[in-house]
Symmetry: none
Subunit: 196 residues, 4 copies
DNA sequence: CGATAAACGAGACGGTACGTCACGTCTTGCC
DNA sequence: GGCAAGACGTGACGTACCGTCTCGTTTATCG
């Protein structure tokens, strides 16, 4: 009855608890310091999880950062459907550009896309939890518009998705200063004109 | 005791010679091992230039890699003007996608775009020596088509540039496997339809 | 679904079987890789015994190595008594030096003596299963010689034991290259001269 | 006048200063915690020297400990020559046994001899800075006695050295409790009787 | 034209991070 | 209940780079 209340920290713990701990710390570091700030060392230091365990669960620090990011911000992006395609797309695109340019999530996401160029695990996570879901949402909205007759029947909606969001991403990655309200307007108008 | 066979390499040397040496080594490393392979240490080891000097001339290893890349492949991309906009754009886009997907320059360029997300020097170099020149070339071709009446007068050609190349870049960075011949066809067609 | 082909190894097993298994694996590792090669992890990996069980039975990996060594090579050392003390001692000493210098048991034993300097369990095992038994055998031989009048009556035979084997051990531990045939001859002669 | 007196610590420093710093810290750790307490990590943490530098200068933590020990206690052991060999040897042996059994240097030295069994750099240092110098001193004393006619002419003094110190080392390493005053007396007497 | 200052090479130094290994602790699921 | 399997925190190892700093050498420049 000597009361060994003090949890030493060693020994096995529930995997979920450990993973959540690590992801929380990683998400915090990611938003505060960018992808480069998420290292195995720092995540271990700012959580209860040991480096050894981090290595066991994630193939790279960037992969950990990616999972942390996508776990923390899963739902985020919905596209309201008011019936007015142009307005809906423009609103969503504006919110997205705002996120990228004015919230800490922007640099984080840019950093993850960057990391994906040399880290297959990050690329896979990016595709699975980010790129493809958003592509589906945008595509679905355009398809609904197509069924309403607002878009031409033969148009490949995925191409239109790229011409709106892909173009925007490209500017955000290479010339972020040029992503203005006017540019976003033109982007949506031009894309819809081609699809009408 | 006249022969000074052993060129020690020490002492002052013409700056240009030194810079060229460093850039050559950096370019080689970049193409062979990617951006991450270009470190001050390795460039110094595989050239006659010392780390001290590298630090003096370039703010980061990635910046050195960028300059090496753009110096080595300055002219590269021209856009032939046959009068047939669609064909010209399609040809250029195809050559570009090929470069990105099937030559060592592809990973290098992807890596540089990635590095630019966390390295302002790289971003600046990328904009100055790569993004803007190519944007100008593409824009000029579209303007010529516009003057020939092949494109509507009010269209912002830079938006069209983004809808072709920007969209393509986005796929190359996030879902490279989906960049197929058919996709490129659709991209050009769709963009031109919107600009007609 | 009768066949229980897969012997899972789990569940309770006879303690002796488990211990023998562990000791066998430890002995193998000890002879092949030295004391440092005997770790709980490696013994568990190269036997059917789990780490949990190893920790339960042995206070340290070196202690396990020690027990493995002494269990495997208990009888080993006999000292033939032909009546000629000098020849008998010299023969035994030669065999011992040979063992230490030219068999895998040599490094193992040197390693155990080393481990004993910072591991009381190893020291205790070493004394009980190695040092004292051999000291008894050598002492008994010398006492027989003493009773035959070949050694002076007042001589402390344990001191003579040290002056032969102890001296030899010291050289084997600190200057193994200097343990030559001539040295062993001189050692025995000198010790017996002092004891005559 | 912001006074940037604060030495950043980075950059090159005189090699001797660095080495001395490291050796000081290592010596302290060695005496306080034994050989196992001297790790690259701890030496770096308790000195101004970085781990990288320690790895550059010493092949193993034990080798660093060895150099620290021998640098700190170079002269130590002299053997006074009063003309009475027996008394001189006995006095020196007593002082040595005392050092080994009752000072922090004892465990340190035992640990270094142990480390030498699996670390050639330690073995070499031990031989060069400890074993051979002391063997020379003891041998020289015995040779002087030999020239004075106190020892027989044909006796190999190095064998006598082993029979005194070697025997003592062996007991100190394997049965330290048995190294008593009486034992040391017997050791010297017995060895000298054999050499008379 | 010779002395001087600038630029260079070599490379050590304090750090941070990586990826691995072993230790000792602890939990879960078989048998 | 005892065992295997195996995850966990800890701490050490050895390596790669980074950015800083020192030293000695060589060369361009200027007195």
């Amino acid at each position: 009855m000597t009361a060994q209340l003090a949890r030493s920290g060693r020994g096995r713990r529930p995997a979920d608890e450990v993973r959540r701990d690590a992801l929380d710390a990683a998400a915090r570091l990611l938003l505060e310091q960018g992808v480069a700030g998420v290292t195995y060392d720092r995540v271990a230091a700012s959580s209860t999880v040991s480096r050894t365990t981090l290595y066991k669960w994630w193939p790279s620090a960037a992969a950990l950062a990616a999972e942390a990011f996508f776990t923390a911000s899963e739902p985020e992006l919905e596209l309201v459907d008011t019936g007015d395609v142009r307005a809906d797309l423009r609103a969503q695109l504006g919110a997205f550009a705002d996120l990228m340019l004015r919230s800490p999530a922007g640099p984080a996401l840019r950093g993850l896309i960057a990391a994906a160029q040399s880290d297959d695990a990050v690329l896979a996570a990016l595709q699975e939890h980010y790129v493809r879901p958003r592509r589906r949402i945008g595509g679905a909205a355009l398809e609904r518009a197509q069924q309403r007759g607002q878009l031409a029947a033969g148009v490949d909606v995925q191409v239109v998705v790229d011409q709106i969001w892909g173009a925007c991403y490209y500017r955000l990655l290479t010339e972020p200063d040029t992503v203005t309200t006017g540019y976003l307007d033109a982007l949506v108008s031009q894309a819809l004109r081609g699809a009408r």
